[in-house]
Amino acid sequence: MSEPSSPARRVAARPAAGVAGASPARNAGTLGRHAEAILRNLNTALLVVDTGGQVSGANPPAAAILGEAVEGLPGRVVWDWFPDTPRDELPFARSLREGARVCGAELTLTRRDGQRVPIGVSSGPLLEADGSPLGAVATFQDLSGIRRLQRQVLHAEKMASIGRLAAGVAHEINNPMGFIHANLFQLEEYLADLRRLWEAVAELRQAAGASVDARLRDARGRLDALARQVDADFLLGDAAKAVRESLEGAERIRHIVQDLRVFADPHEGEPVPADLNRVLDATARIVWPTLKHTVVLRKEYGELPLVRCRPTQLQQVFMNLLVNAHQAIQERLRTEAGQGEIVLRTEPVPEGVRVAVSDDGIGLPPGPGERVFEPFFTTRPAGEGPGLGLSAAYDVVRRHGGTLRAEGRPGGGCTFEVRLPCEGGPPPDPGP
C-alpha cells in the first residue's frame, strides 16, 4: 500500500497532540516512517478512494464495518455501498468534486449480504503536495450501538408520557363513570317497578273490558290502542335489556380505568426489601388454577438478594406476564393439540436480580419488539381485554428503576425478562 502514506502526511501537517515532546517536523518523520503501521492499528475506520471513487486503501476497522476482508476492498467502488443515497450527496463525492470537508455526516451503508449499518462519516479531499487531487480520505464509525440507545431512550420517554396521559385520563373518566354506573343501576330498579306496575294495569284492562260502564270500556280501548302503538310490552322488556347491556359496558370501562390507574405515580407506602422468589411464587399460586389445564409450569429459582420494592405492584407485573404467557399458549393451542410450558427463572445478576418468564406460545407479533409494551397494543380480538397488561407491567418495572424486555424465539415462544436493581448495587464480592 503506497497510497495511504498520503493521508498520513496530511494528518501530520497539523501538530499531533498525542506525541509529547516531539516537534511537528519530527512527528511528520515518525508518521511518515510508520504510516502503514499507524493505519493498520488506528482504532477508527479509514477509507481512501481515488478520483474515480475506487477504494485505494482501507484499514481493518473499515473492513469490519463494511463486512468485508481488507484484501477484498481495493478496487471496489465506494458508491456501491450506499444505494439509498444519491451519489452527488455522498461525502466522498463532494470531497472529490468540490474538495469539501464533511464532518459527521450520517449515512446508511448496505453490506454485500444486504445488512444495513448506520454510520457517521467525515471526509476530505486527498491532495498531493502541489495541490493536485489524488482522491478522498474518510474516517467513519458504526452508529448502530448509539442508534439503539437513542431508540431505547426515546421509547422510555414515550412510555413515560403515555403513562402520565393514561393516568390523567383515568381520573377524568372515573367521575362521569360514577354517576353513569349509579344511574343505570337505578334505572334497572325503576324499570323493574314499572314492569310490576304494567302487570297491575293488565289486570285493570281486563276488568275494564268486561265492565258494563261504556266509559271504562272506551278508556280501555284507547289504552289498548296506545299500548299497541308504542309496543308497550316490547318497550318495557327491551328497556331493561338495554340498561343491562349498558351496565355491562360501564363495568368494562370501570376495569379499563382501574388498569390505567397503574400508570399513575402511587402514593402508597414506602418500598420494602422483598424476596422476589416468594413474590413470584405467590403470584404463580394465584394464577395456577387458570393455567393448570393447558400448561406445565417449571420453576428454576436461583438464590436472590433482597430487592427494595413495592411487592404488590411487582405481583401485578408477574401476574400480567403470566397471563400474557398463558394467552400466547392458548393462541397456539387453537390450531395444535397438546400442552404448553411456562418457565419461571430467577437469578442474581451484577446489578441486581433477573426474573424471566418464558413460554412456548405463538411468539411475538412481527414488528419492533417494544410495541408490545404500548398501551392498547393487543393481538387479541376486540373485546378480549384492552391490551394494557404489558404496558402497565413495563411502567411498574420502570418506576422500580428496572427494565422489562421481550425477546421472541425463532419457531415461536418468547421470554419476558425483568431486571431490577437491588439495594446498594451488586452484592459484595466474597473475594479472597
Partner: protein, 123 residues
C-alpha cells in the same frame, strides 16, 4: 317511632349528588347536599346531621380534611369517605380520623345502602 335520619352528601360534581340521592331515595332519609367543603360545614352549623358521605378528591378542601373538621363540629355524625381510588387513602389516616367506612366510586348501590344502614344502627 325513630326520627328520620339526616344524611349530608358532599361532592363537587352535582350529577354525582343526583345519582347518590337516587341510590338512597328508597331508604327514606332526609337528604342534604353540598358541592364543597365550605358549603358542607355551613350546613352542619344549621342542625343535626346523622351521617356525612363525602367525596375525597374535591377542589379546595379534600374529603378527608372536611370529615376531620366535621368531627369537631358534629361529633355524633357517622363519617363515610367516597373515593375513586380507595387504595390511595391510607387506612391509618382513616382510623386516626375516626372515619367509619370507605366507599369506592363507582359505588355498588346495595353495598352503599347496607354500609350506611349499618353505620347508623351502630353509631
Amino acid at each position: 317511632m325513630t326520627p328520620v335520619a339526616t344524611i349530608l352528601l358532599v361532592d363537587d360534581e352535582e350529577r354525582i349528588l343526583d345519582a347518590l340521592e337516587r341510590t338512597l331515595r328508597r331508604e327514606g332519609y332526609r337528604i342534604l347536599t353540598a358541592t364543597s367543603g365550605t358549603d358542607a360545614l355551613r350546613l352542619l352549623e344549621g342542625g343535626t346531621v346523622d351521617a356525612i358521605l363525602s367525596d375525597h378528591k374535591m377542589p379546595g378542601q379534600s374529603g378527608l380534611d372536611l370529615l376531620a373538621q366535621a368531627a369537631a363540629r358534629c361529633p355524633q355524625a357517622v363519617r363515610i369517605l367516597v373515593s375513586g381510588w380507595p387504595e390511595e387513602v391510607a387506612p391509618e389516616r382513616m382510623r386516626a380520623l375516626g372515619i367509619r367506612a370507605l366507599v369506592a366510586k363507582p359505588w355498588d348501590a346495595h353495598a352503599l345502602r347496607a354500609t350506611l344502614r349499618e353505620a347508623l344502627e351502630t353509631r
